[in-house]
């Protein structure tokens, strides 16, 4: 494996990790506030569909972006309504949203475009263009650093850079602002937050809005950056892998980047080398694809440190009994 191949695989890994990273951060905000969010998958799917459908109809990816985020936030609000206001079971509400998304996208897509649930192929203004970073072509010939800059870092859509930027932003918001402190507290001990005179309900809804926006971005990237149209079930389990990455990262933003990049890398290697020849044994493609889940199981079994979820996660907050 030469250097250029490594750069190309990393390039592919970065692309594949981006939707995972965005979804993982969405889960991070929601679970840190004490709301389990199984519905990441469904939110990615509806956002992918509506952004692609609206971008295809209007010809502008930015209007598509707004539509995708709006629908994803709306889904988030349904989840919030069920699990915060009505104090329902958060897992059931999330699973219901996943089913709803899977059926709704195909149904609306068929009625809208009559393409069997697919949206028309997006072209030109209806897709996010690949951005060339400054001097990318000028430095391409510099050994080692040139390819890293011009192939690996440059030439992605704007959402990839937004996702990467959101990692330090999330860290700052969670650990260096008053809002972040309260958000974390509400996931650990909502009664204490309430005693201090801060609204638990409002904080949790705010976290759901943030999760909705981030999931929306993940779906939009999937449909208009990574792909060029919506296809039936195109999220393909990414919401669940993001949840696995969240556990892997122990609900922290910077490890979340590492975990999603690792999972992206595994996918990229599986694509480049369907059968991985390690000399002694050849790993089949199925093994490579199952690896993120296997890794998560190993971590959950406690081999690599202990992953402790936010204490109040999954518990609806009841003020008085």
């Amino acid at each position: 494996m030469d250097f250029l191949t490594i750069v190309q695989i990393s390039d592919s890994a970065l692309r594949l990790a981006t939707p995972l990273l965005l979804a993982c951060l969405a889960g991070l905000f929601s679970e840190r506030a004490g709301i389990f969010d199984i519905g990441l998958e469904g939110k990615i799917l509806v956002s992918a569909f509506f952004s692609a459908a609206v971008a295809a109809s209007t010809g502008s990816v930015w209007i598509g972006l707004c539509a995708g985020i709006a629908v994803s936030v709306a889904f988030s609000m349904v989840h919030g309504l069920a699990s915060i206001t009505f104090q329902g079971n958060q897992l059931i509400s999330g699973v219901a949203l996943n089913f709803l998304a899977s059926g709704l996208t195909v149904l609306v897509g068929e009625a809208w475009f009559s393409l069997g649930g697919r949206t028309p192929s997006l072209a030109g203004e209806a897709r996010f263009p690949n951005l060339e970073l400054p001097f990318a072509s000028a430095v391409a010939d510099i050994p080692v650093l040139g390819p890293i800059y011009s192939d690996l870092l440059s030439g992605h859509t704007i959402l990839v850079y937004v996702a990467l930027l959101l990692v330090p932003v999330s860290w700052f918001v969670l650990y260096r602002t008053r809002f972040g402190l309260r958000l974390r507290a509400v996931g650990e001990n909502p009664a204490a937050v309430d005693t201090a005179g801060i609204s638990v309900i409002r904080l949790r809804y705010t976290s759901m809005v943030i999760a909705g926006v981030l999931c929306g971005l993940a779906g939009i990237y999937l449909a208009t950056g990574l792909g060029s149209a919506f296809g039936k079930e195109m999220s393909a389990g990414r919401g669940y892998i993001a949840l696995a990455a969240l556990i892997f990262a122990k609900w922290k933003p910077v490890p979340a980047l590492g975990a999603t990049l690792l999972f992206g890398l595994l996918q990229a290697i599986a694509i480049r080398y369907p059968k991985l020849d390690l000399g002694i044994i050849t790993l089949p493609a199925q093994f490579m694809e199952a690896l993120p889940y296997i890794l998560t199981v190993i971590i959950l079994a406690g081999f690599i440190g202990k992953a402790i979820p936010p204490k109040a996660g999954g518990e609806p907050y009841v003020k008085e009994r």
């Binding site: 592919s12 692309r15 009559s114 069997g116 697919r118 990574l226 060029s228 149209a229 296809g231 393909a236």
Partner: protein
């Protein structure tokens, strides 16, 4: 009592005529979806053409999951549909279960293999068509490296890949062929994102012509090739040249539409047997239209037509992967 008998008799008569009138043909689309721009869509076009020309109606269903296969067959058979056309090799097993239960209904499998007195089998010589597009790919490639992206890893798709590889080697004996399969489950027919990533990986390895035999996944392949500079793609089953004009070198045509049209035209009088559609009957071929006219030079056209004539005459033998589950020029 007599009145009652009359009523019953009338009701029975109505039921009989209704039964006769109900003998519409039915078609079951496989998991890639009716509008996959490829295999299933070709079948749909054939059925639609029959409906437009004769004013007839046909029943249809798009399968959503594996579990629906047998259910859909039984529903159509019990509704009196005849013949029932199924697309895709994956219908073979459910069809061999269901067909004996409805001996008066004629079933058709396109791409599958079922031995039953009431099942009509339609097969295509995909290896011959793939050979021709492989030859074109070798002539069009500047890097000497070409790619192949299959859908689900099954013998049928390896048959495409093997024919293609033989064509490439015929056009350029030193050419490198990179072959990837999208997956090992039926979901591999409908994963354009993965198809696109596979294409980017092949382009990174030097491929400048990529042949997609992957149903709905192929759209992602064609898109990724169209996005890249100087890379051409080859479509499959339907003519996909128009999807990205000037970026699709050609399409390997599999005239599923003609097969479906002929079957529906024959209707209940369909003669059950095995039908193999190859180059000599134009059952397979390569697409040439205004969208790719500038990509196919006179020289390429001459050599591909020459190869076609030789295959029909039997001077060139294209190895069929499914005959012995091996390919002389390509390792999987």
């Amino acid at each position: 009592m007599t009145l009652m008998k009359k009523f019953l008799g009338a009701a029975a008569a109505v039921a009989v005529t209704a039964g006769a009138a109900l003998a519409d043909p039915a078609i079951i689309f496989d998991l890639g979806g009716k509008f996959d721009k490829s295999f299933n869509e070709a079948a749909f076009r054939g059925a639609q053409r029959w409906a437009d020309e004769t004013g007839g109606k046909f029943l249809e269903i798009e399968l959503q999951s594996e579990a629906q296969r047998e259910q859909a067959l039984r529903r159509f058979a019990e509704a009196g549909a005849n013949p029932i056309v199924t697309t895709g090799f994956a219908m073979s097993t459910p069809l061999s279960e269901v067909a004996p239960d409805y001996p008066d209904t004629k079933f058709v499998t396109i791409d599958g293999w079922v031995e039953a007195p009431n099942v009509h089998v339609v097969g295509f010589a995909e290896h011959e068509g793939s050979y021709l597009v492989g030859l074109l790919a070798a002539k069009a490639s500047k890097t000497g490296t070409v790619g192949f992206i299959g859908g689900m890893d099954v013998p049928l798709i390896r048959k495409f890949a093997c024919g293609y590889a033989q064509g490439v080697k015929a056009g350029n004996p030193d050419a490198t062929i990179i072959a990837n399969m999208t997956g090992t489950t039926p979901a591999a027919w409908n994963d354009p994102v993965r198809g696109g990533e596979l294409t980017k990986a092949q382009i990174a390895q030097g491929a400048d012509v990529v042949y997609a035999a992957a149903g709905g996944t192929g759209i992602g392949v064609l898109q990724a090739a169209a996005d890249a500079e100087g890379v051409l793609s080859i479509g499959v089953d339907s003519n996909q040249n128009h999807l990205f004009p000037g970026k699709v070198l050609t399409s390997m045509l599999k005239r599923v539409d003609v097969a479906v049209y002929n079957i529906m035209t024959a209707g209940e009088n369909l003669e059950v047997g095995f039908e193999a559609l190859d180059l000599s009957q134009d059952g397979v071929g390569y697409a040439l239209d205004e969208n790719n006219a500038s990509l196919i030079s006179e020289d390429m056209k001459t050599s591909v037509e020459d190869a076609k004539a030789k295959i029909i005459a039997g001077d060139i033998k294209v190895h069929d992967y499914s005959s012995d589950d091996s390919c002389p020029v390509l390792d999987f």
